[in-house]
Amino acid sequence: MLLNQFLLLAAALFCIGVYGVLVRKNAILVLMSVELILNAVNINLVAFGALTDDVAGEVFALFTIAVAAAEVGIGLAIVLLMYRNRRSIDLSEADLMKG
């Protein structure tokens, strides 16, 4: 298998995730798009690990999975707090810090 297959797939997933982050208004859907981006990174790590025949790629993919799990936990807690304070999780309404 070509290395490029996996890298191009990851690039496509990454770009779809970036599109989702930019276009979504719902905070939960933005977090889902961030997950797409993180998964694209994981595919890259494991593919390069397979290319160099090194376990480092897999180890760092596991670390990324752990960090992503922590990120989702904190992110959803913030979304819950936002919902409790404003009765809405629409990100276009969250403009308190807008200059």
């Binding site: 290395l3 970036v18 599109y19 989702g20 889902m32 593919a47 690990g49 819950l80």
Partner: protein, 177 residues
């Protein structure tokens, strides 16, 4: 792209089954990922996300990384998606056909996405023209764990502390007081 096809066709020991499976899974993943970012129903987006995550796990198996694939299924499909569904439930976020896409941003966001992909694709094809991934046997789980608990013990402990901090932080942020 033509360099890619040339490299594929000039392959002497073509792994047909792996390539076919890769194509099918990759196409499913791309379609599902597009559904995740375009569907108007939040629960449907979470369910499409499950398909993408399962596809990523399948790609890990194709790459011979079985332990990462199992962890992907356990952590992402088992925990993260359930967390998302709980988030949807607790915020009562527009379960129906609610408009969650910023219409005015759609054009510029697609331009950004397509441009980014073109730049990355050109760079990748130029750099890794015909490098091959040779998977003769799956990575042994023992090697991964040996590596984590010897060479990467410091980052491992850092991740443990990070998870503890995230746990406490999530409770502190989300609790009613």
């Amino acid at each position: 792209m033509s360099a890619l096809f040339a490299a594929i066709s000039s392959d002497t020991d073509l792994m047909v089954a792996q390539n076919v499976f890769f194509g099918v899974i990759a196409a499913t993943m791309i379609v599902s990922a597009l559904k995740v970012v375009t569907t108007k129903n939040v629960v449907h987006a979470a369910l499409w996300l499950v398909v993408v995550l399962a596809g990523v796990a399948a790609q890990f198996i194709l790459l011979g990384a079985e332990f990462v694939a199992v962890t992907q299924v356990l952590v992402y499909i088992g925990a993260v998606v359930v967390l998302f569904l709980f988030g949807v439930m607790l915020t009562r976020a527009s379960l129906g056909d609610d408009e969650t896409v910023a219409e005015e941003k759609r054009a510029i966001a697609s331009i950004v996405g397509v441009l980014l992909f073109s730049v990355m694709a050109v760079a990748l094809i130029d750099t890794w023209a015909d490098d091959r991934v040779v998977i003769d046997e799956p990575q042994r789980v023992a090697e991964v764990s040996d590596s984590i608990f010897s060479q990467y013990i410091v980052p491992f402990e850092a991740v443990s502390v990070l998870l503890l901090a995230a746990l406490i932080g999530a409770i502190v942020v989300a609790r009613k007081d």
